[in-house]
Symmetry: C2
């Protein structure tokens, strides 16, 4: 059955009208008709079975037949990552990380960041599409581009992956299931000042193994380790 993301729906809803975009997608692109059934997701654990009662391409209206709720995953997987210079690469990270079960993403603005602007709307769409494709029930929370210092002051501990020498832990040995964001730097790495600031605050310096990984691969690898531990 076709899936639609409808953030405004709730367990009490009996009837819902899709947005203009989604109505067009349902009635023009997918050619759904009155009487057809679809699945609605609210991105907060709820799955709704619904039947189209008006197949209007601008305000497609549905009657809700059934509601199921899935508990939020106990494990918080929050990756804070500097967007890559090449935008496609970070978009792939967002897609893959959603499939794997990331719960929160922050885009970090670092001293060495080459990309200082992001298209938040587009990133949100990628998360929604990956959520639907992988049949997840929770939409990862996307935070806006955040300066490194601000992030550290809001999240005093976590793990920071960097390439400087010094003592490092393996992420699998130090990962914690909540309040423990995983920080991945830009192509030119975090600056020594950023590493020092994070360490002073209480961050673990981590290694992601001996291979040199691109930013988005490092992000995904960190995410996979968190999923498994």
């Amino acid at each position: 059955m076709n899936l639609f993301y409808v953030p405004e729906i709730s367990a009490e809803s009996r009837e819902i009208t899709l947005s203009e975009d989604e109505s067009k997608h349902a009635c023009r692109v997918l050619r759904l008709r009155t009487g057809d059934k679809v699945i609605l997701l609210d991105g907060r654990g709820g799955t709704y079975t619904a039947e189209i009662i008006e197949d209007h391409p601008k305000h497609c209206t549905l009657h809700i037949l059934d509601y199921q709720f899935e508990e939020m995953p106990a494990k918080e997987i929050h990756v804070a990552i500097a967007p890559t210079k090449n935008n496609e690469r970070i978009e792939w990270f967002l897609e893959k990380a959603t499939e794997l079960g990331i719960t929160e993403v922050t885009l970090l603005l670092c001293g060495n960041s080459e990309r200082k602007q992001i298209k938040e709307d587009r990133f949100e769409k990628i998360l929604v599409s990956a959520m639907k494709q992988s049949q997840r029930k929770y939409l990862p929370k996307l935070h806006p581009l955040t300066p490194f210092k601000t992030f550290i002051s809001e999240h005093p501990k976590g793990a920071l992956a960097h390439c400087y020498d010094g003592e490092k832990s393996l992420l699998q040995d130090v990962f914690q299931a909540s309040g423990y964001p995983l920080l991945i730097g830009p192509e030119g790495d975090f600056t020594p000042e950023e590493v020092a600031l994070a360490q002073q605050s209480g961050y673990d310096s981590i290694s992601l193994g001996k291979n040199r990984l691109r930013t988005e691969t490092a992000g995904l690898y960190a995410c996979m380790i968190a999923v498994m531990h």
Copy 2:
């Protein structure tokens, strides 16, 4: 320093001439000149420091100054994967898997494969570029598109990821460091006949967790688990 992949070089080489393509890249694109030093990789563990003695854009010639050898990784990571319908997706898999340390890739032709042809030359180029980018010393071995049955007869055991019901192991619990390819099916999954054939031969059915993953994400996830175990 700039890196070049020169498969024909060996520990005995004293002088080497780059291919026409690589010569053009060195002398026209990178504007390297006689006296400049570069790194050559043979993709079989050897790293060579070399000095340009003739900066000709069609036959750039180098004198080899130094040779270092890195032992082959003890762990064999062989992913056999059905190429995705969307070619970009499998190309990303090849790039990321190389960064992570895959040692062998086979492209599988399955009953449900939508893509029945691959551009082997292009795939090889992606592996070379990812090897250089991630400073690995071994080029993953790329096998041509292989029918599923042929693959099973040549590799009688390994792990097969599929979405059918039945008893499954976690890859991390059954992975073996040699002679144990990881098989990832096409968008429509392996056919029941393929699953049965593999199981009869001695394959473990594996699960990659509860999330539904795209082909290329499943391949990369399997590869990451193998890297870590």
